[in-house]
């Protein structure tokens, strides 16, 4: 078999194939539910209800989507430049760490503390990705492996700090940081609703990244470098500088996920702050085809799957990992579907 480009893909092809990918995901999820001895329809219904069946469920989904929007944007920005940042997890924790440090150690008043925490977080996340980016550019070290390994190192650093200098003396021995003061927390987005300003910030970030991509020279450069670095270099685009800028932007965005989780939701830093938001960000970005606004939609979708599966698993006896499998299947079938909108399989 061979792949042949499809020149003018029909609307049916462009919409039908991604829908088919979603259908495959649903079928796999149904089979998994069946394996667990549950009724597939009931299970899917429970997931849907848990994700969006009530105001509470919906807000829970949006809260869960918030960090995913940030990490999804981080991955989308980096992947556009073919900078394979698989280290959003480490950047997230770097951001969370700086948020807690600035929030608890400097004693700044609330209105000053919040922007200061955010800035410190962005800086830390950017620096964490700067290392792998420089190693890639200077020595040709593959950033996939370095960013992956940094995830493990960062978690150990956090663990060390939480059991050492950053340990909350009131924490009854648990490895967690002291909480940041009340007035340094992100306010509710809408009074009375359990949704914090982190979500608003995530939406602003998505729109900003989108504007950067389509309206600025940096966005133009990032896309050029990602699509054809050789042509970009020939045309006088400073390729290395663009990759460094991309790394700073991407790392900073991922760090905001950590900032928003600490300052908006949790209030302190623990080792389970992120159940893999950094890795899930890759799925979010890919499902969105790296489009910044698409990231918002796909983050809410993925968050819904996780939140829904969580609540379903309490009601029916199906392990929550059904959500992880479904998301992985959605990723793989979606990238295949997108490919098949552009190429058709021909014999010989």
């Amino acid at each position: 078999m061979r792949l042949e480009p499809v020149r003018d893909a029909s609307l049916a092809r462009r919409l039908g194939l991604p829908l088919l990918a979603l259908a495959v995901t649903v079928v796999v999820a149904s089979v998994l539910a069946r394996l667990a001895g549950a009724d597939p329809f009931a299970t899917l219904g429970l997931i849907l209800k848990g994700a969006a069946g009530s105001k509470f469920a919906l807000l829970e989904t949006l809260n869960r989507a918030t960090p995913l929007i940030f990490t999804g944007l981080a991955v989308a920005v980096a992947f556009r430049a073919k900078l394979w940042n698989i280290g959003a997890e480490a950047q997230l924790y770097a951001g969370a760490l700086m948020t807690v440090l600035v929030g608890t150690q400097l004693g700044l008043p609330g209105p000053v503390a919040i922007p200061a925490m955010a800035l410190a977080a962005i800086l830390a996340g950017a620096l964490v990705l700067l290392g792998p980016a420089v190693l890639k550019l200077r020595l040709g070290v593959d950033e996939v492996v370095t960013t992956l390994l940094l995830n493990f190192i960062m978690l150990l650093v956090i663990s060390m700090l939480l059991e050492g200098p950053l340990k909350d003396p009131m924490g009854m021995g648990w490895p967690k940081s002291p909480p940041i003061p009340r007035d340094a927390r992100l306010p509710r987005l809408i009074e009375g609703l359990r949704l914090h300003w982190g979500f608003g910030l995530a939406l602003i970030a998505a729109v900003s990244v989108w504007l950067i991509q389509i309206r600025t020279t940096l966005g133009y450069e990032i896309r050029a470098v990602g699509l054809n670095p050789q042509a970009a270099r020939f045309a006088g685009i400073p390729v290395n500088r663009v990759i460094v800028k991309t790394a700073l932007l991407s790392g900073g965005l991922a760090a905001l996920a950590g900032f928003s989780e600490v300052a908006g939701l949790k209030g302190n830093l623990t080792l389970d702050l992120s159940p893999g938001f950094g890795y899930t960000g890759i799925v979010v970005a890919m499902l969105a085809l790296l489009h910044p606004l698409g990231v918002v939609v796909s983050a809410i979708f993925v968050a819904g799957v996780f939140v829904g599966a969580n609540s379903m698993s309490r009601a029916a006896d199906v392990p929550t990992y059904i959500a992880d499998i479904s998301v992985a299947v959605a990723l793989l079938s979606m990238v295949l579907a997108i490919l098949l909108t552009k190429f058709r399989v021909v014999r010989g």
Partner: protein, 314 residues
């Protein structure tokens, strides 16, 4: 000199071989894939799946060796999926690899929860036992250091020899090495790049799964979450460190295991007590990054690594 004492103890060297074994299996697996031109980032998840599948098979009543076979086949199945998506379809090896890791990991966890819904601590199986080799195992020092391992450790070393022989001494290995360097050299000689690459990814994934199975069937005797803990990523670094050669990769795995065994022992010395244990746990990851940096200058990367091949367009 605590370090010297450690280095002179037979148990240290036995530990080195034990720690190295899963890495050797998985590193050889990754090496085969990359030599054929496919980066397999599914390695981490495939190790988890292999660890679970082998252990579960034994727990369910199969013998140890059939259990190992189950692990191997599980790995090959994920390898087949990876190969299908990345070779004929030419999808991004980064994205597919990470997707396979997520899929394999969560599938193993799901299956674990399904089969053992109520347990709080995972049940143990009777793992592979050290093999007594008449004569060798009774040698002073060396007997304990080198010849008191389980069959799987010896199998790991045999795997290195087998991989080296196949790569450098058979027509298959020749075609495989050519496929990773210039696939059209293979196609022009009438062989199928697609078949060779998918075959390599399946075989490599099988070895990765055996590396995972070593953890549950020889090292720990039970399955728990996060047990692979980045070993797959470390193996990718080891392939680079070994310059895509089985022998050098073996040296890398042993060196690496040596540092790992050393840090475990240093933690228990008075010197180690003053240093947070996390610093020691960081050593493997930091070493991997260091290895990548050191090798970056003289790496002989297979030229067609990560380049999909579409027949006809040259």
């Amino acid at each position: 000199m605590e370090i010297l004492d450690i280095l002179l103890s037979a148990s240290f060297w036995a530990a080195v071989l034990r720690i190295a074994s899963p890495l050797i299996f998985a590193t050889m697996g990754e090496l085969i894939c990359e030599r054929a031109g496919v980066l397999n980032l599914g390695i981490e998840g495939i190790m988890v799946a292999g660890a679970f599948a082998g252990w579960m098979a034994v727990y369910a009543g199969l013998g140890l060796w059939p259990g190992l076979l189950v692990a191997l086949l599980t790995g090959m199945a994920f390898g087949a999926l990876h190969g299908l998506l990345t070779v004929p379809f030419g999808l991004s090896q980064h994205v597919v690899g990470l997707g396979i890791t997520m899929l394999a990991t969560s599938s193993a966890y799901y299956a674990y929860r399904l089969s053992l819904p109520e347990v709080t601590s995972p049940p143990r199986i009777e793992p592979f036992q050290p093999v007594h080799i008449p004569g060798l195992s009774d040698l002073p020092f060396f007997g304990e250091a080198l010849f008191s391992q389980t069959a799987l450790t010896y199998l790991a070393f045999a795997t290195v020899i087998a991989v080296a022989l196949i790569l450098y001494r058979t027509p298959l290995g020749l075609a495989l090495r050519a496929a990773g360097e210039n696939p059209s050299a293979v196609e022009a000689q009438g062989l199928s790049v697609t078949a060779i690459r998918i075959g390599a990814v399946m075989a490599g994934s099988g070895l990765m799964a055996m590396g995972g199975a070593f953890l549950t069937m020889s090292a720990f005797s039970s399955f728990f979450f996060e047990m692979v803990n980045g070993r797959g990523w470390i193996c990718i670094a080891l392939v680079v460190f070994g310059a895509w050669r089985p022998g050098k990769a073996l040296v890398g795995a042993l060196l690496f295991a040596g540092f790992d065994a050393l840090q475990i022992r240093l933690q228990q010395t008075p010197l180690g007590a003053d240093i947070p244990y996390q610093v020691f746990l960081m050593v493997p990851y930091a070493l991997s990054i260091l290895a990548l940096v050191l090798m970056s200058r003289r790496a002989e990367v297979p030229a067609a690594l990560m380049t999909p091949y579409n027949r006809g367009d040259r």
